[in-house]
């Protein structure tokens, strides 16, 4: 079941969903909340001519974050914006910190906005699930699938968060048979 704007607001008021800074009234639609773009992004480098490069996730020494450090460049979006070229992948984050309290029966999906999608802007690469218990700024994998560059600006509405009620409480949020046990 997808939460409506009323239910999202109630969950926020009860502290079961935390969004910081809090979304303004205009950020809500009937079944979603818009989130905005943070100024920090990481641009993945394009391949260099004459040099064969490949990522090998199955390698025993593969370290994803180390690899990302090597193949990406951290940037701060300037006031005039950042031009996302066609076919380029950048990692970006929502400006908002999001916390889905584990014992709350809510997970979420981050999805794009049609107003941007129609120009080819994708905001995730098959990884839209925000699990119950998540806390942090949501990382976006943004690709321009269009033919023209798209200018990204800090604080622009970049994605929407759709909250879904889970059937039951996840085990980690449930004080069940292992409760009360300590390390001693």
């Amino acid at each position: 079941m997808i939460l409506t704007d009323r239910e999202i607001r109630l969950s926020i008021a009860k502290g079961l969903i935390i969004i910081d800074p809090a979304p303004d009234e205009k950020a809500f639609s009937s079944t979603a909340v818009d989130l905005t773009l943070d100024e920090h992004i990481a641009e993945l480098r394009e391949g260099e001519g004459g040099l064969e490069q490949a990522i090998d996730p199955g390698h025993k020494d593969f370290k994803p974050e180390k690899t990302l450090e090597l193949v990406s460049k951290k940037l701060t979006i300037p006031a005039e914006g950042y031009l996302l070229k066609p076919d380029l992948l950048v990692l970006a984050w929502t400006k908002e910190y999001v916390n889905l309290v584990p014992h709350n029966r809510v997970a979420a999906r981050v999805e794009g906005k049609s107003s941007l999608a129609r120009f080819g802007l994708g905001i995730h690469v098959t990884a839209p699930t925000i699990h119950a218990g998540f806390d942090g700024h949501i990382r976006l994998e943004m690709v321009n699938h269009g033919k023209l560059p798209i200018r990204l600006r800090p604080n622009m509405r970049i994605c929407q968060l759709i909250f879904e009620q889970t059937l039951g409480t996840p085990e980690k949020g449930y004080q069940g048979q292992f409760s009360g046990q300590t390390a001693s």
């Binding site: 974050e65 450090e69 910190y97 218990g133 700024h137 980690k172 390390a183």
Partner: protein, 79 residues
């Protein structure tokens, strides 16, 4: 329940840190929000399994190797 972690470095976003958890199968690294870290520990909710004094816990984020649930020794449980 909170488990001990070791801070390994910063993430790609200023809000993120790379942390390491000692599991029964070796160290696992994951990226978490700085707000999640208190006194070098991380909240993992209630354990989802127990066996021979070890806990199966679900980490707050997927590890860099793609795992969510790991077995830990109770010695790294701090709360």
């Amino acid at each position: 329940m909170r488990v001990k972690i070791e801070e390994m470095g910063i993430g790609q976003h200023p809000s993120e840190k790379v942390v390491q958890v000692e599991t029964l199968e070796g160290p696992e690294q994951l990226i978490v929000d700085k707000r999640s870290i208190h006194d070098r520990s991380l909240d993992v909710g209630f354990p989802v399994g127990q066996q021979n004094g070890h806990f199966l816990v679900e980490l707050p984020r997927e590890t860099l190797r793609g795992l969510w649930r790991v077995w830990i020794d109770k010695q790294i449980v701090v709360e």
